[in-house]
Symmetry: C2
Subunit: 110 residues, 2 copies
């Protein structure tokens, strides 16, 4: 099993509540949701963070199109917060690029 928990989810070695996927990306529910809707979106290939994604030549067009399609599928189009943390100092707890899609009543300030 991979040392990376998100790689393990991508490989179906760990369970997850999967919301959507395509060839490149996977979306699944955060196990500790901080809002009514809290979905994580990851590239299936391992890259540490957004900076590494861009350095690797990954397509942000396809990635953000997938993100917005997930938001639409969750019925939160037009009312969601999108966050990615780059590095531990910013609060990144898993060193595999992931976007948080958060939505629901009373989203806190940030």
């Amino acid at each position: 099993m991979s040392d990376c928990v998100f790689c393990s989810i991508v490989a179906a070695e760990l369970p997850a509540d999967i919301v959507a996927e395509d060839e490149e990306f996977l979306a699944f529910r955060d196990v500790q949701p901080r809002a009514q809707t809290h979905v994580l979106i990851v590239p299936k290939v391992h890259v540490d963070d957004l900076d590494a994604w861009l350095a690797s030549g990954g397509s942000s067009d396809r990635m953000l199109a997938f993100v917005t399609s997930v938001a639409a599928g969750e019925q939160v189009a037009g009312r969601y917060r999108l966050i990615t943390n780059v590095g531990e100092d910013a609060g990144q707890t898993v060193a595999h690029l992931h976007w948080h899609v958060l939505a629901g009543p009373r989203l806190p300030g940030f």
Copy 2:
């Protein structure tokens, strides 16, 4: 002057502490910073939010490349939080697509 405060900044009709710009994007400091580093990045054309940006065919590759270049220029590469709010319900207060780049000690949870 435009009804949109960010369009007015792009048009130099309102002052802003500009950090970086290219043909398509502008980065400037938030007037009410919520972290040691708090920069806003906007497309120069008016689009309401990320969903509208994608619908308009805007390049997310170029947009996120600009975002990360701004983070690097601010000396926060590898330690920043990137947020965009889509819609008022998610906390979007200006209806012109903008990314928050936040960095510094003791970034709060979100």
